[in-house]
Subunit: 345 residues, 2 copies
Amino acid sequence: MSSSQKQPASLKSVAKMAGVSIATVSRVLNGDPVVKPETKLAVEKAIKTAGYHPNRVAQRLRSSYKSGRLIGLVIPDIRNPYYIDVIRGIEESAYTNGSAVLIGNFSQDPDKEKMYINILKSESVDGFIIAPHHGHDKYVEDLIEQHHAVVCIDRGLANCSTDIVKSDNERGAFNAVEHLIKLGHKRIAHISGNLSIPTTHERIAGYVAALRKYNLPVDDTLIRGRASDFQSGIDLTAELLDLPEPPEAIFTANNLLTLGSLEKIHERGVKIPDEIAIVGFDDMYWAASLNPALTAVRQHGFEIGKRAIELLYQRIEDPARPAANVIINTELMVRRSCGFKPGTL
Amino acid sequence: MSSSQKQPASLKSVAKMAGVSIATVSRVLNGDPVVKPETKLAVEKAIKTAGYHPNRVAQRLRSSYKSGRLIGLVIPDIRNPYYIDVIRGIEESAYTNGSAVLIGNFSQDPDKEKMYINILKSESVDGFIIAPHHGHDKYVEDLIEQHHAVVCIDRGLANCSTDIVKSDNERGAFNAVEHLIKLGHKRIAHISGNLSIPTTHERIAGYVAALRKYNLPVDDTLIRGRASDFQSGIDLTAELLDLPEPPEAIFTANNLLTLGSLEKIHERGVKIPDEIAIVGFDDMYWAASLNPALTAVRQHGFEIGKRAIELLYQRIEDPARPAANVIINTELMVRRSCGFKPGTL
DNA sequence: TAGGGTCCTGAAAACGTTTACACTAAAAAC
DNA sequence: GTTTTTAGTGTAAACGTTTTCAGGACCCTA
């Protein structure tokens, strides 16, 4: 019926239509109880017939605003399905709050990270959710120093106290390796990730702890780490398979490494799980479709995203609140890629 | 050294520091050649020492601005890896242009789609990239009628002429089915998607065209479509396998259907490709890691995203430009899931 | 009738930009 | 030596909000 106005309605046009001042319209919009019921009705009618929607840009310029916030999200790799879950968790909550999410994917590139942080700052986002590049991420530290609301995911910052939401990496790794051990594997390798991020070390620690607990030797030649990408998975798996005494099982530190490792294992025609077992950190929704279905450590990305944005809202409300550190448990998704030991399952 | 200013620098503070008016500072920032070289230098120095970054909110309020745009992206399902590629294509170009991307994932929910479109409108985005919910998407049509810059991906709108960037669905489907036929398969089923979107029909058309070309019968009991989700893939595959005369090959219409289909095929213990061949629309970066590696129709999502944002920039520059319709070819990624015919490959 | 509430509303400043316009001083033209 | 041009700069309005402040109308009390 309506829907063909040239200019979008503004406070001014609504005010004129209702025969009141813009202040009154604003008050109605914000539910100020002071306005007289009659005028309120008149204004509401004008708002409806004008098809008015507040201009969030003007609102944000005037003052960072209560409802309908703008959230900045900065992540290192949108191709990682884990981060997709995180995004969905954030988005679900953002949706119910009428918030919008500005997304920056920096692809492990610090310059890109810096630029996105600057853009988001200059867009006056109400708060940031960031997976810092590493533990000494200067850009994120600056952000916090400048009193922006920031929640970190995956890892914290060495020099700052911030809200953090992350998985229990050590325990997750421990569970995975313990699972292998309980199935009878003894010679277990670990393909590790980028050594500059704390996550990597936590996962190594879990691996080592499991071996220790069961009195298995920790063999340095079986721990190999380079980068966290597909190619490293391929190369490091080749190295392991070429060992005079190759491992019986591999624990990979993230999904891309897992994929690379599988690629090489298939290429060599090595049978999973009969000739080699594999368990990966990071579950993917299609992990069950791999053949054999992949046993994996599931990070609850959706949950992590959800908690992160909750914390962020609280941080925006109360900047002085002490920092919270939320650790989300992982879950071992047992499938077929590690084999069976008689008596288990 | 610097980095501890309470308030971010504004035109005003820079102007005061440089001893000029804010207009002059603005002119320097926008490269107006009218300013005297000396003052220009002084202002630039002040800008640097103040660590000034323009406030994009104020810029956008004042007038939609030339560099550093804000792009609204509305997609139906962020879990679909195809859209991740699209996002990356958009993002790459946005990054080099200093643009930011506001993302709305509506999860096939029209209400959510509507809300995100409203939010983006009210954030005064410079333009929209949208995968419409279906061919008669009223919200998107309204947007275009209101003279917003809009580029559609995946499908157009029946009642509007817009810029569209999409894959050649019919040809992609044709190639996939032709591949099966050339490998000697005759009884080929098609698991189709949501029948309310044009894409689905284009893919069916390609399937039918291939059968026709090779004088194979088109058997309605072998074409089954319900929704475009995982569960449909499972259920429809079960139906097909339960047929008195089950198909020798299946062509699935998207990645979720493929995954569901694989799930059921594995569950039944049917061997791929010996007992059944499968080719899917939508390639995924991990499709080669499936066992056997999946033969799939690859949509160039990255390319689609890139072309979409290019068109969008051009549309913003010139709202009157006639609408363009860009069709991107697909690519058949031949792997192992369709088997080999003696003499091929 | 004067004084003081209470109730409701409007005027105006502010947020940080861009930009049309006005203005000054010096240079050029006559 | 006056007038006109030109170069360079500043003033102020505008974008659409929120919010403080002031003030008008009304009612109550003395």
